[in-house]
């Protein structure tokens, strides 16, 4: 059901849409080698280099690079892994959680860095790939820890329910935990990045259109659009880092949940 609401007089303003996310390939014959793909690869290189040089020759009184690297690593290790998974087992999962956090954070922040300005995670494939990894990990951990029967039994049959209701609740629980949870995990990251990118496009390119093609008052008002663009850029920075944190946090929580047996 589609509805054309307003026709702009004059030609030319193209409101942003999902077409803005189809970027052309960088090398003409290789269709899939687009800018986001390249940025994801570069981000891996940058992160590896950063943490390699941060950890090289560590001193007791750290230099700036070591301090930054240790700060980020310590934050993830303390607040995300150890506090949630518990001090006994968190080391096994710390590489995964840490990598997820820094990879997603850097790729998100690419959305506001000049000349890059495209958050890699706003293409649905990237969050889905990361969520697939997390999904396999937490289901695998749960099945290993509680046995396949025990894992599904604990999931699907909550205590304290009259027994005839179980047949209604069990499939609901199964669908929710096994299918919809990873769906919300990936969609949350994707939707935040997608919407943030669209917002920035609206304000900045809209402001440019107002400045160049508008008459009179519209030209003056374009400064409002640019001001909103600046405000939104800072807001996007917050959202981007927060979404990376939430993804890593929920990964840790799901792993912890899959491992917990009795209380």
């Amino acid at each position: 059901m589609s509805l054309v609401v307003l026709a702009e007089e004059g030609e030319g303003y193209n409101p942003p849409g999902s077409g803005d996310f189809k970027l052309p390939p960088i090398i003409d014959n290789i269709e899939w080698f687009t800018k986001p793909y390249l940025m994801a690869l570069i981000s891996v290189g940058v992160l590896v280099a950063f943490f390699y040089f941060a950890a090289r020759r560590p001193k007791l009184v750290p230099g700036r690079l070591q301090f930054a690297g240790e700060g980020i690593y310590g934050f993830v290790r303390r607040d995300l892994a150890r506090d949630i998974i518990g001090s006994a087992e968190f080391m096994k999962f710390l590489p995964l959680i840490f990598s997820l956090f820094i990879f997603i954070a850097l790729n998100n922040v690419f959305g506001i860095i000049p000349f890059i300005q495209f958050p890699t995670m706003s293409l649905i494939g990237f969050p889905i790939a990361l969520t697939l990894i997390v999904w396999i990990v937490y289901n695998w951990v749960g099945i290993r820890r509680q046995g396949p029967i025990g894992y599904f039994k604990n999931m699907m049959f909550p205590p304290g329910v009259p027994s005839w209701v179980y047949i209604l609740l069990a499939p609901l629980e199964l669908v929710s935990t096994v299918f919809v949870r990873p769906l919300t995990l990936s969609l949350r990251l994707f939707a935040n990045m997608f919407a943030g990118h669209l917002l920035l496009i609206v304000f900045i390119l809209g402001g440019e259109y107002m400045l160049l093609e508008g008459e009179g008052l519209v030209k003056v008002l374009s400064i409002g659009a640019f001001a909103m663009g600046i405000v939104m850029t800072f807001f996007e920075l917050l959202v981007q880092v927060l979404q990376a944190y939430i993804f890593a946090l929920l990964t840790a929580l799901y792993i912890a949940g899959a491992m917990s047996e009795e209380h």
């Binding site: 499939p171 629980e173 919809v180 912890a256």
Partner: protein, 90 residues
């Protein structure tokens, strides 16, 4: 009744449980599952009424499940000593 063997953070002072997001997942999956079932029955019977019925039923069921998992006051473990105020009335 039996202990709830469900996910909880190892350290309860840590940042929020999966609670809020699990609730969204329950509601969504209730709507999708039973709404989908209602839609399939609609296609089979050629009606249009079962889709909203399925959606409402799925939402109600999901709300009940949220109540079962998260809406009841947690039972204190059998060996708890301090007088923590609890609201469980069993």
């Amino acid at each position: 009744m039996g202990q709830d063997k469900r996910p909880h953070a190892a350290n309860h002072d840590a940042a929020a449980d999966t609670g809020a997001w699990d609730i969204v997942a329950y509601l969504l999956s209730g709507m999708l599952l039973w709404g989908g079932a209602g839609w399939l029955i609609d296609r089979w019977l050629g009606l249009r009424v079962f889709l909203p019925i399925g959606l409402l039923f799925g939402t109600g069921l999901a709300l009940y499940l949220v109540y079962v998992r998260y809406g009841r006051a947690p039972e204190p473990p059998a060996d708890q000593h301090d007088g923590e105020p609890n609201g469980s009335s069993r």
